[in-house]
Amino acid sequence: MVPLRVSSSPGGAGIRPSLLIACLLILLTLGAAGAHLQATSAELSRFNPGWNGTAAFFSLSESLGAVIHSPNVAPHDQPDRYILIAPDGTDAEPIVRGVLAAGGIVIIADEDGGANELLEALGLEMRIRPGNVSSVDMEFASPRTVRATVSSNHSVLQGVETLVFNRPSSIEGGEPLVRTSVLSWIDHDGDGSPGSGEELGRYTLMASEKSEIGDVILIADASLFASTMQQVRRLHDNQRLLFNLLDSDSVMVDAMYGRPADADGPAYLVHTVKSAPISSIIVIFLLMMVVAFAFRRQIL
């Protein structure tokens, strides 16, 4: 083994410049590889920094003081607001019931109907009805980017008049809060125009329903939280809605029971290991072993 401590100047010992550059390059490469391995392209994943992820929303949430409920972060004692994006199954039910029992607000955003199981378990009547709502009142050059207006007051809609949705589904039941214009339809055949069986009418995209002393708000479009919706500078009152949702004494955003927790490929392994409670101890132990080894072999 050739020692690294090689003299490069007549006056004293030090690391050779070429070796230093090589070390730096290795560190940079490892950093890039680490960042790459942690990222994913899974839809709405908080580990997805792309346009269809929710990394931007989770970053915003943290900057506004919200707690991210992930496997290695214990749930907040009793948040007064709990946000669930595209949940699947009923695992979140205990936390949701706790928030509602304390008079808090639970916000559920979903578009493929995965949240219906949870809504049913909570004894609510609201349901997501999957199917692309489209409208002639479009924000972008696609009838699936629907403009909808507030039809009923709610504290989370303060200062909000018009919202832009992105391939939303619709809601049955509950009290409608945000509805499309009458020239809207569910585009079953995906041709971008109303045809037979695609009746024009107003569709509910956001609704609320009382449960115990709390309130459940259902949004028929998880894409409201996707990064692409935050990359457009002027998007009516969408940004205001996100701030309103996160504006409370204790807000908890779910990153366990819905799509934001998703990761695929190497990112899945990285985050599984990272989220295991014992993983930090193992990593620290391994690092100490490496340092001790380096000292013993006079590498450092």
């Binding site: 269809n52 002639v136 009142d137 696609s142 699936r144 403009r147 125009s193």
Partner: protein, 576 residues
């Protein structure tokens, strides 16, 4: 020795790299036009969402335009029938123009929004039928009103033949008006039902139906009184009579209608046929007193029509026949070079000499006329680029249902011939330039080898040359632009303002869109301009008022027109 080895190794290496680079560039040049390894557009949507940052932002509130426009159409029809009832035909004519213009705007909107399979199309279809009835009601009641004056005139001139003519024309008009009003009333419930589904107020429409019934009742009474009086004053001739028969009783586009009859008694052998009180045919009876005329059904309105024959002061009965509307189909295809061609059929019958409108983004860009085979073709006069166009047939003068083609992509190539030649020469030029670059590089490296000192005079002359060149350039750039005495935009505005104010405003809008730096200002929308100038509230106010005129059919008064113009001048100055 070492130096010699270095130079031996270094000097040939640089040209070799240059050659390698050139070869690489040559190899990738064919792919330069489509470097599509990754584009944001290729990753523009998933099953859950669209990538909105790559889509064009429109901020389109079509419902905010369509629903008020539907109410405006009802309001126009209400005032139209009210003025007909009051016999104020001058005001009624203005109302009719307004009503037709708004209906046409609505039709264009339905096409532009691709709502041809929706409930909105149902409303449009019912309104198209109402439009036929109201146009017919206006024309017939106006003519019926004129008969009163003619009756007095002929009575004063003691002209019994013409008095009978007035009576018969009155009978024909009475039948038609009754039929028209019955058709208009019969649609009331269905129209109101569809409108209420959209939340459109129907009060004006319901009132118009009641007023139309009152018009019909008034015409009935007046004609009854006229017939009784004329028959009392001028008894019919007993020595001469004329009969008329029509077959079949119901016809469609392309059918043949046979009109025949016989004259008995002595007198003239000339006979005249009147269709809807207008002269249709002049002819002579045969030796046995019969006459025959065949008419092909083409440009004639849907609904009931009346006929009568007259000869030498005697009049036939007034038979009726009904023209039934037939469906149509339009096909459209791009013929290249910015031209289109298509075919208009009713079933398998070609529709002849009919106008077909070509729309791009809901705006008419050309009107082509069909030939004897129902075919139409022609250029569109669109700017270069890709355009999605549809062909629409919706002429009320034919007993044919409106129809439109599927959307067709029309590519308009660049108009300059030089550009085509440039495209052909592009690759050889690139290759030549690359070889020149390689040659130049090698020459430069070889000439650098002895590193000669550049002549002092060369170094000294360069700055002077550059300064002179720059001064020349600046002088050239700052030369004053030629001033124009007149403003073509304002000229176009004033020219169109008298006859078509929305068109006049369009000139101002295009000018503003151009000043705001929009590409293809002629095809820009108000939404485009809003997106381009998001914080210009003054511009937004002007655009809102502009949209109300263009899409909601509001007709601004003089004061508002002054506002449009003054604001336009101000906005243009700010943009400049």
């Amino acid at each position: 020795m070492k130096r010699g080895r270095d130079s031996k190794h270094t000097l040939p290496t640089l040209p070799a790299i240059a050659v390698a680079v050139c070869i690489f560039l040559l190899l990738i040049t064919p792919h330069a036009a489509s470097p599509a390894l990754y584009t944001t557009e290729s990753d523009a949507f998933t099953a859950m969402h669209d990538r909105v940052s790559v889509l064009r932002q429109l901020s389109q509130d079509s419902t905010g335009v369509a629903l008020p426009l539907m109410e405006e159409i009802f309001a126009s029809s209400g005032t139209l029938v009210l003025n007909i009832n009051l016999k104020d035909f001058e005001s009624a004519e203005k109302d009719l123009d307004e009503y037709l213009a708004r209906s046409r705007q609505f039709d264009n909107m339905v096409i532009r929004l691709d709502m041809s399979q929706s409930d909105l199309e149902e409303w449009r279809r019912l309104n198209a039928q109402n439009r036929e009835d109201l146009t017919s009601l206006f024309e017939d009641t106006q003519r019926f009103s004129e008969l009163k004056r003619l009756e007095i005139e002929y009575r004063d001139a003691d002209n019994p033949d013409m008095l009978y003519s007035v009576m018969y024309e009155g009978e024909a008009l009475r039948s038609r008006i009754k039929e028209t009003v019955s058709s208009y009333e019969g649609r009331n419930e269905e129209m109101a039902g569809v409108s209420e589904r959209f939340g459109v107020a129907t009060d004006d429409y319901t009132q118009s139906v009641e007023d139309a019934l009152a018009v019909s009742a008034s015409v009935e009474d007046e004609q009854e009184e006229r017939s009784t009086e004329i028959r009392r004053v001028v008894p019919p001739r007993a020595d001469r009579s004329i009969t008329i028969g029509v077959e079949p009783a119901e016809v469609r586009y392309g059918d043949i209608l046979t009109i025949s009859g016989r004259i008995t008694g002595s007198g003239s052998r000339d006979v005249a046929l009147y269709l809807d009180s207008r002269l249709l045919w002049n002819g002579t009876v045969t030796f046995d007193g019969t006459y025959l005329h065949r008419m092909r059904i083409a440009m004639i309105r849907t609904g009931m029509h009346t006929l009568y024959a007259t000869s030498d002061g005697v009049f036939s009965d007034v038979p009726v026949f009904r023209v039934i509307q037939s469906p149509t189909s339009v096909t459209l295809s791009s013929s290249g070079g910015g031209k289109v061609s298509g075919l208009l059929l009713s079933g398998d019958i070609p529709v002849r000499n009919a106008p077909v409108r070509i729309l791009s983004a809901g705006r008419p860009v050309a009107t082509l006329t069909t030939d004897e085979d129902g075919r139409f073709a022609g250029p569109l006069g669109l700017p270069e680029g890709d355009h999605r166009v549809v062909a629409a047939f919706d002429d009320l003068r034919y007993p044919l249902e409106p129809s439109w083609s599927v959307e067709v992509l029309v590519h308009v190539p660049p108009r300059k011939e030089g550009q085509e030649i440039g495209a052909i020469l592009l690759y050889p030029l690139v290759v030549l330039m690359l070889f020149a670059a390689v040659g130049g590089g090698i020459w430069y490296l070889r000439s650098r080898r002895p590193l000669p000192t550049p002549p002092a005079s060369f170094l000294e002359e360069r700055p002077d040359d550059t300064e002179e060149g720059l001064a020349d350039d600046i002088e050239t750039d700052l030369s004053p632009l030629p001033e124009s005495d007149s403003d073509p935009v304002l000229e176009a505005y004033h020219a169109a303002a008298g006859s078509d104010y929305p068109d006049a405003l369009r000139h101002l809008f295009i000018s503003l869109a151009g000043a705001a730096g929009l590409q293809n200002p002629s095809y820009a929308t108000a939404g485009d301009l809003r997106v381009a100038l998001p914080s210009d509230t003054r511009m937004h106010a002007w655009l809102s008022a502009y949209e109300r005129v263009l899409y909601a059919g509001q007709i601004p008064q003089d004061k508002e027109r002054e506002w449009f113009l003054s604001e336009y001048l101000l906005l243009r100055e700010v943009l400049a």
